[in-house]
Symmetry: C2
């Protein structure tokens, strides 16, 4: 049996302004199966490891809204609130300030990925403890093409994978990575850590762990959540 | 107004054996919103262009099953049946034998993509008429990584796109491409045509145009099809 030897944190990034949802409610607060998306995400981590510390990063404008929602849904889980920055990079950096134990493992999770499984969460945290970092990934099912200046070319999709969250890191490594300057090409935390010269360790994600960025995704998430039959499949990458 | 000057065919490839569905019914025959998946796909082309000629490629074992289903659902659309080959490449090649007018445009569509929109279909056929070929594509939303022998590296996802069907071609070009030898790396028709030296022309696909390859996808397709609000978004690539 593997002993859990390091404290765990998860920074849940809920900084989006929901511009693509055609809805005044930011997407992380939209209701999914009767509850705001973000509460599903938080619950998934607490169900997986009740001792994990949750740091929720929100735009300043949404903090009051969050508190009202917590009251409305009787949601009283221990959650620390950090404030969003200009970009996702700056938001994660702000969240990291609440991680006070450097001898720990920290995950960074998109608030709008409520369908992550405990299996994916544990795989990422355990591998990060062992390898310094771990990123859940799934195969790409469609054919893909690389776009060049004047044309596009087919590439072998089996040589690519799509990454998800939680992306987990030894805290000292992630903190060091976030002392680097911001670069606009960073789309996830793995890229920030990689920029420092670290090799990224991949673990199997779950195919349903989609990012809710539009109305279509909310419909999909609702359907998967309500599905009678078990549809959660852990893809081998 | 653009005049339609070329006859149109579509080869609908329904050759899969449904091994991943844990279901004795091949996936293209599974019910979606009360009707087999494959009938939705065929209807979408006929609704878009009633004069299009449909060539359905099926494994020999499934032809009788298809006929029984047509009787059961009162489905009497004009459909020519070709037999599947050893791989998708060979199936398309068999379907092409039913395309008797070489001065035409032919689309190749996965039977298990019932959520293609008329807009995607028309965009592909019209562009193929103009450029010789056209492939619907959508942006990749997750961060992606390239897998190398001993590690993986982040790549810029904005430089990649995922391709869908129908992939459309001037018939003479596609027929010539399919005289080439089979290669196991071909995952779509664009790759076969590209192997001949042609540049591939991309058009906007629709994000919902997913390929049904497992139970999860059937649940997603059902939810999108039943959605009250319009969720069909044509992504700019």
């Amino acid at each position: 049996m593997t002993e859990i030897s390091h404290k765990r944190y998860v920074i849940i990034v809920g900084g989006g302004n929901g511009a693509r949802m055609n809805n005044p409610v930011p997407k992380q607060f939209m209701k999914l199966d009767g509850k705001p998306v973000i509460m599903h995400s938080i619950n998934k981590f607490l169900e997986t490891d009740p001792s994990i510390e949750i740091i929720l990063v929100l735009p300043e404008d949404h903090v009051k809204f969050w508190e009202v929602m917590c009251a409305e849904y009787g949601f009283n889980k221990p959650v620390k609130i950090a404030l969003s920055g200009e970009t996702r990079f700056h938001s994660v950096k702000n969240g990291l300030q609440f991680v006070d134990d450097d001898n720990s493992v920290v995950g960074v999770h998109d608030a709008v990925r409520p369908l992550v499984t405990s299996k994916t969460i544990l795989a990422a945290f355990k591998a990060a403890e062992m390898y310094g970092n771990a990123v859940p990934a799934v195969p790409i099912n469609d054919s893909i093409r690389q776009i060049e200046t004047t044309r596009s070319i087919a590439v072998d999709r089996s040589r690519y994978c799509a990454t998800q969250t939680p992306q987990c890191f030894r805290t000292d490594i992630l903190k060091k990575a976030y002392t680097q300057d911001y670069h606009y090409t960073y789309t996830d935390d793995a890229m920030v850590v990689e920029a420092m010269g670290e090799h990224i360790h991949l673990v199997d994600g779950n195919a349903e762990n989609l990012k809710i960025t539009g109305p279509k995704d909310l419909i999909i998430a609702e359907a998967l959540m309500k599905a009678d039959s078990p549809v959660f499949i852990h893809s081998k990458i």
